[in-house]
Symmetry: none
Subunit: 196 residues, 4 copies
């Protein structure tokens, strides 16, 4: 990685949790600068606007959380087990995710400022990516006869996501990790329902 690239990455790493916690318009460039040794010059030398930085920060956040979540899911094995493990991973990593300001998808999707922006686009792409991952687990499970064939993989993936996101919101707002665990066990029983 070149030096320029490195600075860019450093800025993003510093900006990411701040944007995730405070939202786009709640975050000022100065907020990001504080305690980072950065200067406005270096930020605007690397990003053409606050929005571009925020977009890069979102991607960084998403990748970070994704890595965290997916790292604890075996790459192989029974599809149902993998789904259960994936859901469980949100519970296991809840505290770490909270520390970074919560789920970046949930935050960015509801951060109302970025309507019509390039962030919105990235959020949608991220959800699609997430969905696709789940869909491919299910499809593979169906091919291997581990999951009922007449189940809509798309719908199940969506249900999975929406349960996690809804639970994350509730857990964070009400400060009740239990609510997330409730959703996880619900998903687990859902998975059991499609098991062949």
């Amino acid at each position: 990685m070149g030096r320029a690239k490195k600075t860019r990455e450093y800025i993003i790493a510093k900006a990411a949790p701040v944007f995730n916690r405070q939202g786009f318009s709640g975050t000022s460039i100065t907020d990001i600068l504080e305690g980072s040794g950065l200067t406005k010059g270096s930020v605007y030398g690397n990003f053409s606007s606050k929005e571009e930085l925020a977009a890069a920060a979102f991607e960084y956040n998403f990748k970070r959380i994704s890595t965290l979540i997916f790292s604890s899911v075996e790459r192989d094995g029974n599809a149902c087990d993998r789904l259960v493990a994936l859901a469980g991973s949100y519970g296991v990593n809840f505290d770490q995710v909270s520390e970074l300001g919560g789920c970046p998808i949930l935050n960015a999707a509801t951060d109302s400022d970025d309507m019509n922006s390039l962030i919105r686009e990235k959020v949608n792409r991220s959800i699609e990516l997430w969905k696709k991952t789940i869909v491919s687990i299910i499809r593979k499970g169906q091919e291997l006869g581990e999951i009922k064939a007449d189940i809509s993989a798309e719908d199940f993936a969506l249900l999975f996501i929406l349960n996690i996101e809804g639970a994350l919101m509730l857990a964070k707002t009400m400060d009740e990790k239990r609510h997330l665990e409730l959703a996880i066990s619900h998903i687990t029983s859902l998975v059991d329902g499609i098991r062949k």
Copy 2:
């Protein structure tokens, strides 16, 4: 209603959708003033700060959406039918809710600015209220033998809420009303599962 009270209500009514759409720090007092005929004098004469106004606006939004949603649910009848009707009501009223900027609970809960504020408190109270309503429907159903007695009313209510909220987020972000309907039919099948 006195003149002052009326102005106060008018300000809240004008501010509510703007806050709901743009979030707290994404909304400037000027945004609210624009096209409302209001002036700063009248706003700050009636509210001591932007935050106080935002809190009042949240309450207004919540009450408005609640009325919308609950008005289409029969006050009497079978508990399961009522739960299904309640879930369905989110689908029926989706467009109207969208017009107001989406679910105020979802918006306010994820609006990262209001950590530690009086809005946060109101959001939590609103969720509790919503939960309590569902719980009481279930409890009544259990008493009348319409719903299995061994079901946790609390957990079911939470699951209900988190499915709706997660779906609302997905539907809004991806502009796919279908996702909400998916959650509704999921809830419907969940209700069928607890029917006696």
Copy 3:
């Protein structure tokens, strides 16, 4: 005193120390209202502008302090003794004057906002009045042969005033009552110098 007159006086009495302490532009109408039970309506019903109120407040302050200072000076007796007593009176009443925010003449004269205003005029008239009082004491003393005849009463009066005012400024700013007492003893020796 009619009721209207009474309200007017009450407003002035409440406003006077605030203006004396905070100056014209440093004082907001709201400052005066606070903790007085007054309302803006009543203020603007009785005074056409903030400036008019400030002018009335200055007069009130001046009269109050004058009364305080002159009340301890015998109306008759030796002119030199009366001058010494007058000077001493500033020392005796220093704490009370301080409580009201200091010498209104000094405050108003140096309150730079009221250049070209009706307050400026009132300040000048007040100084003239003060000077005249001292001049008349001296003149009477000269007529009665208590004071040297070749002394300029005007100049002596001016010197008297300017010593008191300068000392008041120093004493207040540096929080050293001693500085006022120094000026008083200086004036005392000055008086001794013109005694016949």
Copy 4:
């Protein structure tokens, strides 16, 4: 001088007479901006608050007036002559001082807004400095046998200052330079009184 330092100095130079004439709360940042080619950004880039700027402006004013006054006083020579020259310097430079808005010490000390502020502190330090200068002239005179040894240098200095300040106030308010001259000639005779 670096560019930043230069801008800072320029801002202070522009702000100083405005603050001296209009007082702290009577001066708005916009007042300073007007006709100076300055922008808000540059002001707040160089000063963290209005108060900090006002404090810098006071120091600038004080230094400027001090230079004006003390430049016409010989560094050597008879102590009494120097004291007389110093007093006289206020008369000679009265018009120039007036043009800058009057004596910054008098103005700042009576500008009621800055109670408890860092300006107040600077004012006190300035008076102390002024006093010390006079005291050292006297002390030196006493050592050289030009001034009576039993005179309190401190008290004389205070008397000197308070006469000048009181006279400055009177002269400015009543628009009578004569009053200042009266004080100067009074000080002159005071000096004669301590001459050995």
